[in-house]
C-alpha cells in the first residue's frame, strides 16, 4: 500500500472515530484548563533586594555626567549623616554628581579595588593595604589617622588572670572575622605570648559583633576581648577587665591621590563628625595631606 494511501486511511479513520474525537476533546479541555490557570494568575513585580549595604544620595550638581564619590566603611553607624553632609556640600556638587557610602566586611577589600581606585575614600589599616598592594602609596594617601585605643579581656565574674590555667578553665568568645583586630587577632596573639596551648582552650566564634556581645551578656562565654567602649554598654552589671594592649591601631582613612583638592575640607569635616558619632568620648583625629586651613 502506498504511503499516501496509509495516511488517507488513517485520516479517514481519525475523522470518523468517536474515540479520536473524545481524545481531541480531552486534549482541548486540558489546554483550556491550563490556559485558564495561567490567565487568572496575577503578575507580581520582580522583588529586588533593598540597598542594605550602601547609601546613595545626589549632590546639588546640575550635570549628571560628573563622577560618583564612593566611600567604603566597615560599619553603617553614622553613614547616613556622613552621606548627607557630603551631598549637601556645594563644593562636592561642583565635582561629583552623587555620593555612595558602602559598608562591607573588611575581607572584601581587594587589591583590585585599590589598583582600579574604585573608592574615593575608605577606611582600613596600614599593614592591610600595604600587604594587598606594595606600592599602595601611588594610588592613595592617608587623610585621617585615628588614635590608638585599648583592648582588654573582659569578664562578668572576676578579673581575668593572665595564666594559661585561667584560659583553660574559662570559655572565650571571638569573631569569625579574621580581619578583626580587637576580636580575633589581638586576643589570639596575646594568648600565644602567655604560652597558652590553643588546643586546650574553649574558643567559640560568632558571625557578628552583636552575636558575640549577646553571648557574653547572657553568659554563654566567660571571656571576650574588646575595646574599652564595652564599658559604656555595661549598665549596672559589674565588669572585670585585664588589659591586653593600649596601643591598638584604630586604622586610617585613605583618599585617592588623584582628587580635587577643593573637596578636602568637606571630607575633613565629614570624617570628624563621623568619628565623633561613634562614641561618647572625643577622639583625637590627626588629619594628613590636607590643606592647613581645614584642620
Amino acid at each position: 500500500m502506498q504511503k499516501s494511501g496509509v495516511v488517507t486511511s488513517a485520516l479517514l479513520w481519525g475523522c470518523s472515530s468517536v474515540s479520536v474525537r473524545r481524545a481531541l476533546l480531552a486534549v482541548l479541555l486540558l489546554l483550556a484548563v491550563i490556559a485558564f490557570t495561567r490567565l487568572v494568575q496575577q503578575d507580581l513585580p520582580q522583588l529586588y533586594p533593598g540597598q542594605y549595604r550602601f547609601l546613595h544620595c545626589t549632590t546639588a550638581s546640575e550635570s549628571a555626567d560628573l563622577p560618583l564619590f564612593r566611600v567604603l566603611s566597615v560599619v553603617d553607624n553614622g553613614a547616613q549623616a556622613f552621606a548627607r553632609q557630603l551631598c549637601d556640600s556645594s563644593v562636592m556638587g561642583q565635582y561629583y554628581s552623587a555620593v555612595e557610602v558602602h559598608w562591607r566586611p573588611r575581607s572584601e577589600l581587594s587589591a583590585r579595588d585599590i589598583v582600579e581606585e574604585r573608592y574615593d575614600l575608605f577606611w582600613s589599616r596600614d599593614r592591610r593595604v600595604q600587604s594587598l598592594v606594595p606600592n599602595f602609596d601611588q594610588y592613595y594617601q592617608t587623610v585621617a589617622r585615628l588614635p590608638d585605643y585599648s583592648v582588654a579581656w573582659f569578664s562578668l565574674q572576676q578579673t581575668p588572670a593572665l595564666t594559661p590555667e585561667y584560659f583553660y578553665s574559662h570559655s572565650i568568645g571571638l569573631l569569625e572575622d579574621m580581619q578583626s583586630n580587637s576580636h580575633f587577632l589581638m586576643p589570639l596573639m596575646h594568648l600565644k605570648e602567655l604560652g597558652v596551648d590553643l588546643t586546650r582552650t574553649r574558643i567559640r566564634y560568632y558571625p557578628n559583633y552583636h552575636a558575640l556581645q549577646q553571648a557574653f551578656w547572657s553568659g554563654d562565654v566567660d571571656l571576650i576581648s574588646d575595646s574599652d567602649w564595652l564599658q559604656e554598654m555595661t549598665g549596672d552589671r559589674p565588669l572585670f577587665r585585664t588589659l591586653i594592649d593600649n596601643h591598638a591601631s584604630m586604622g586610617r582613612w585613605y583618599a585617592r591621590r588623584h582628587r580635587p583638592r577643593a573637596v578636602d575640607c568637606v571630607l575633613v569635616q565629614g570624617l570628624q563628625q563621623l568619628v565623633d558619632s561613634l562614641q561618647d568620648a572625643e577622639l583625637l583625629v590627626t588629619f594628613d595631606n590636607v590643606p592647613e586651613a581645614c584642620r
Partner: protein, 399 residues
C-alpha cells in the same frame, strides 16, 4: 416503535458546574501562583543578601532584626500596588524546618549549614478577573463539544475514500462528499449506481450532475435517468438529457420515428400507425379523444377509411391497409396492436414509466363496450398532413 428519551441538551447545569469548578481552580491557582512568584523572586536575591547582612558586621543592634525590618519595609513598598503583603517572619540557622504547604521557605547554604527564611504571603483574591475568566471558560468548555465537528458518518467516509482514491484533493473531496450527503437516499443510491455499476468516475460525474440540477430531480426523473443510462449504455450525458426531457410523446410520422420522454423507441410499422392514430385523436381533443371499440359483429368502416389513409402516410403494411379497406376497423385488430405497443414500450422504459404513455380505458355508457384513449395528454406529431388529422377528428366526432 420505541422512543429514546434524551436528557435536555441545553441544560444549564453543565456550564454551571464548570463555572464553579473553574472558580475553585482559579482561586487556588491565583494564590498558588502568587506564592510561586514571590518564592522565585526572593530566592534569587535573599541568600546572598542575608549572608552579607549577618556576617562580619559591626553595626549597633541585632543584625538579624535589622535585616528582617529592612526587608519587610522594602517588600511592603515594592508590593504596595498589588494587594499583596509579603513579610519575612523568621530566619532559621542550622536546623532544617520541615516542609509545609502554606509556608514560603527560602533555603540557602552558608559555611556548611543550612539557613532558611520563612515568609508569609497574603494576597487579596482578585475576584473580577477570576469571575470573568471562569465565566468565559465555562462557556467555552461547555460549548466545546458542539464546536468540534461530529465524527464523520460511515457513508461520508465511503464517499470521501472513493473521491480520494480517484485522486481528488482533500478540500474538493470534503466539499463534494458533504454535498452528496445532503441529497435524498434515492439520489445517493443513484450516485452509487453510477459509480458502482456503470463505473463512471465521480470526478466527472459530480460536475455533470450539478450542472444538470440532479439534486432537484424527482423520483420519476431518476427512473428516466436509469432508462437513459441503459439506452445509452452508460453515457451520462445522454442519460441526463433523457431525465431532463419534456414529458411528451413525439411522433415523427415522416420517418416512422417515436420519441418517448427523450427515449427513442422503434415500433414495427402497423402498431406505430395505430399508436399515431390514437395519439392524433387525443391531440385533437385533449379533453376527450376516446374511441369506442367497434362491435365484434359490425366493424367500423367509416373510421377504417381514415385509418387506412393514415396508414398510407405513415408507411403501414400493405396487408394491414387492405384488410382495413375490405373488412373495416375491427376491435380485435385494435386490441392486438395496443398490446404490441404496450409490450414494446414496457420492454424499453419499464411498466411503471410506460403506463403514462399507454392507454386508459373505460366502459362507454351508450354502447356498453370498452373505449380507449392515449393516457398521455402531451403529444406532438410532426410530418402528418393537417387535412388528414382534421378528417380523422371530423369522422370521429360524427361517430
Amino acid at each position: 416503535m420505541s422512543e429514546t428519551v434524551y436528557p435536555p441538551r441545553n441544560s444549564i447545569w453543565q456550564p454551571l458546574l464548570w463555572f464553579v469548578l473553574l472558580l475553585a481552580l482559579g482561586f487556588a491557582s491565583q494564590h498558588y501562583g502568587n506564592r510561586q512568584q514571590v518564592a522565585h523572586s526572593l530566592a534569587r536575591w535573599l541568600p546572598a543578601e542575608a549572608v552579607h547582612a549577618l556576617k562580619d558586621v559591626y553595626g549597633r543592634g541585632d543584625p538579624v532584626i535589622q535585616f528582617v525590618q529592612r526587608t519587610n519595609r522594602d517588600l511592603l513598598y515594592q508590593l504596595r500596588g498589588d494587594q499583596c503583603v509579603v513579610q519575612l517572619q523568621q530566619l532559621y540557622g542550622g536546623k532544617h524546618i520541615s516542609w509545609w504547604p502554606f509556608r514560603t521557605l527560602i533555603p540557602w547554604r552558608e559555611g556548611g549549614t543550612i539557613h532558611q527564611a520563612l515568609f508569609s504571603v497574603r494576597c487579596d483574591t482578585r475576584w473580577l478577573p477570576l469571575l470573568v475568566w471562569s465565566l468565559l471558560f465555562a462557556a467555552l468548555i461547555a460549548g466545546m463539544g458542539r464546536l468540534l465537528p461530529a465524527p464523520l458518518s460511515a457513508s461520508r467516509v465511503t464517499w470521501l475514500r472513493q473521491l480520494l482514491l480517484e485522486g481528488g484533493s482533500w478540500q474538493q473531496a470534503w466539499a463534494d462528499s458533504r454535498r452528496v450527503l445532503q441529497w435524498s437516499p434515492a439520489h445517493q443510491q443513484m450516485l452509487s449506481l453510477l459509480s458502482g455499476s456503470w463505473k463512471l468516475p465521480l470526478r466527472s460525474v459530480l460536475p455533470a450532475l450539478r450542472a444538470a440540477g440532479f439534486e432537484h430531480f424527482d423520483a420519476r426523473q431518476l427512473q428516466w435517468l436509469q432508462v437513459g443510462l441503459q439506452q445509452s449504455q452508460g453515457d451520462l450525458y445522454q442519460a441526463l438529457q433523457v431525465a431532463q426531457a419534456e414529458d411528451e410523446l413525439l411522433f415523427n410520422a415522416d420517418h416512422g420515428a417515436l420519441t418517448l420522454h427523450g427515449v427513442s423507441i422503434t415500433l414495427s410499422s402497423t402498431p406505430y400507425c395505430y399508436y399515431l392514430w390514437y395519439a392524433s385523436l387525443r391531440q385533437q381533443d385533449p379533453a376527450g379523444g376516446w374511441y369506442v371499440n367497434p362491435s365484434i359483429q359490425r366493424p367500423d368502416t367509416t373510421m377504417a377509411a381514415s385509418v387506412s389513409d393514415l396508414m398510407e402516410q405513415c408507411g403501414g403494411h400493405r396487408k394491414a391497409i387492405n384488410e382495413l379497406q375490405q373488412h373495416g376497423l375491427r376491435a380485435k385488430t385494435l386490441d392486438q396492436n395496443r398490446n404490441k405497443i404496450k409490450d414494446e414500450l414496457v420492454a424499453v422504459v419499464g411498466e411503471d414509466l410506460a403506463a403514462d404513455y399507454l392507454f386508459e380505458s373505460e366502459r362507454d355508457p351508450y354502447t356498453g363496450r370498452s373505449r380507449y384513449r392515449l393516457a398521455a395528454s402531451k403529444v406532438r406529431i410532426h410530418g402528418l398532413l393537417p387535412s388528414q388529422s382534421e378528417k380523422i377528428t371530423r369522422e370521429n366526432s360524427v361517430t
